[in-house]
């Protein structure tokens, strides 16, 4: 099983995020309307948010289990997290952003140069993040996550902030990542079309 998740977390006085699902290999979409708590679920899997109860297992490894008192620190979970807003480090050039997580990757599957070529960002390496377009920034963010030696990928609406033309480009890229790297991917979206095109499994939420 790729993702075996059953978590609950109170986010506010009247809101609670509770979800349980288990998925097979490939890309799984977490699908639901805005505000359903999809990002919170990713946060709990990545270790950025601590669930109130439940467990998180990915590819057979337990990352969190309240009953067994397991709570692996975020830094050791090896999640390749691609945020909706790319979230590149503004004080580092593209190359340094890509390098940031590399020291965790014990057996780098790909060199930085190969990754840059794979993602079509080799001409951007010396640029500052603020000079990138939305699509370019998102591709760099995907590269940064992949170079950190992830055991699985979490993608939070990576296409939401892009215009139609850029969407197509990044979508093709995500398909290449899905088909060529063989990592379990959990992909959050509220767009039916995206989900139908990318996902093998769909988990409905909200």
């Amino acid at each position: 099983m790729s993702f075996d998740v059953d978590v609950r977390r109170r986010m506010g006085p009247n809101t609670e995020v509770a979800i349980g699902f288990a998925t097979g290999p490939g890309l799984t979409a977490l699908f639901g309307p805005s505000g359903a708590g999809k990002t919170s679920v990713l946060g709990m899997i990545a270790g950025l948010i601590r669930p109130d109860a439940g467990h998180v297992r990915v590819a057979g490894e337990t990352l969190f289990d309240l009953d067994a008192a397991i709570d692996m620190p975020c830094a050791r979970r090896a999640a390749g997290y691609v945020f909706q807003d790319a979230r590149l480090f503004p004080h580092l050039r593209v190359r340094a952003n890509l390098r940031y997580g590399q020291r965790r990757a014990t057996t780098p599957a790909m060199s930085l140069e190969a990754m840059a070529a794979f993602l079509g960002i080799d001409h951007l390496l010396d640029r500052w993040p603020r000079t990138l377009s939305g699509g370019e920034a998102q591709r760099v963010a995907i590269g940064r996550a992949l170079l950190s030696g992830p055991r699985f990928l979490l993608m939070d609406e990576p296409l939401a902030s892009l215009d139609t033309a850029r969407r197509g480009e990044v979508m093709i890229l995500i398909e290449r990542v899905r088909d060529q790297l063989g990592l379990p991917i959990l992909y959050v979206s509220h767009d039916r079309g995206e989900v139908d095109r990318l996902a093998g499994t769909v988990v409905e939420m909200g």
Binding site: A78, Y81, F89, H91
Partner: protein
């Protein structure tokens, strides 16, 4: 230039005292700023007030408190002397201490603002990339807060150059040892016919202070990451 050798010595001493003051105040100021920006603990309001106290207290009171604490028989002063052979009272090092204490609130304010402006989601992103708490701190938090830290340094420096009340109370006026710019100006004012000296020293003060303020403003605007803002 238009200053005499004695007057240059005064400027030189002022720069030395202020430089030392901000360099040694920087680490505690940053720690306090970080604590106030990020920490949640009981007594935070009290700590905040304590940090700001030198800003509102009559400087002569601050100087008197330093005299009690760091004087030859003071609880801290006597130990510093015993353990390190360090004497602060009536020395330029004491002037630096007084200036540092008076500059602390301004430095903490500037740094706290810039730490609060750091996007914590970037720190989360760094953690997902495998960075430890320390690595996140040194590679994300500190660099992003740097413009504010530098602005705080310069602001603290400017404040130190102008420090008068606490300094003269704590270390008195000893030419060549504790006679900084404002103290020298004050002393010259007591002597009839020294208008020219006063004018020269005062103009020097204005130039130094103005330069520091402009530099601090430039630094906080040039926030490399497009964040940050005005410190004043």
């Amino acid at each position: 230039m238009f200053l005499s050798a004695d007057e240059w010595q005064i400027v030189d001493l002022s720069l030395k005292v202020s430089g030392c003051a901000v360099v040694f105040t920087l680490p505690p100021a940053f720690a306090l700023a970080y604590l106030l920006a990020r920490g949640r603990f009981p007594g935070k309001i009290l700590l905040d007030a304590l940090v700001h106290l030198p800003l509102v207290l009559p400087p002569v009171v601050t100087g008197w408190l330093l005299l009690i604490g760091f004087g030859q028989r003071g609880p801290i002063g006597s130990r510093l002397h015993e353990w390190f052979g360090l004497t602060l009272i009536f020395r330029w090092t004491g002037a630096a201490l007084a200036a540092g204490v008076m500059a602390l609130p301004l430095m903490v304010r500037a740094m706290r603002l810039s730490i609060e402006a750091v996007d914590r989601r970037l720190e989360g992103a760094a953690r997902t990339l495998g960075a430890s708490g320390w690595r996140v701190f040194w590679t994300i938090t500190v660099p992003l807060a740097l413009p504010g830290v530098l602005a705080g340094l310069v602001l603290g420096f400017a404040r130190s150059i102008g420090e008068f009340g606490a300094t003269i109370t704590f270390v008195s006026n000893i030419p060549g040892e504790t006679e900084t710019l404002p103290i020298a100006i004050y002393a010259a004012l007591q002597v009839p016919g020294s208008d020219a000296i006063v004018t020269r020293l005062a103009v020097t003060s204005v130039i130094l202070s103005l330069g520091a303020l402009v530099l601090s403003e430039v630094l906080s605007r040039r926030a490399g990451a497009g964040q940050g803002g005005h410190v004043l």
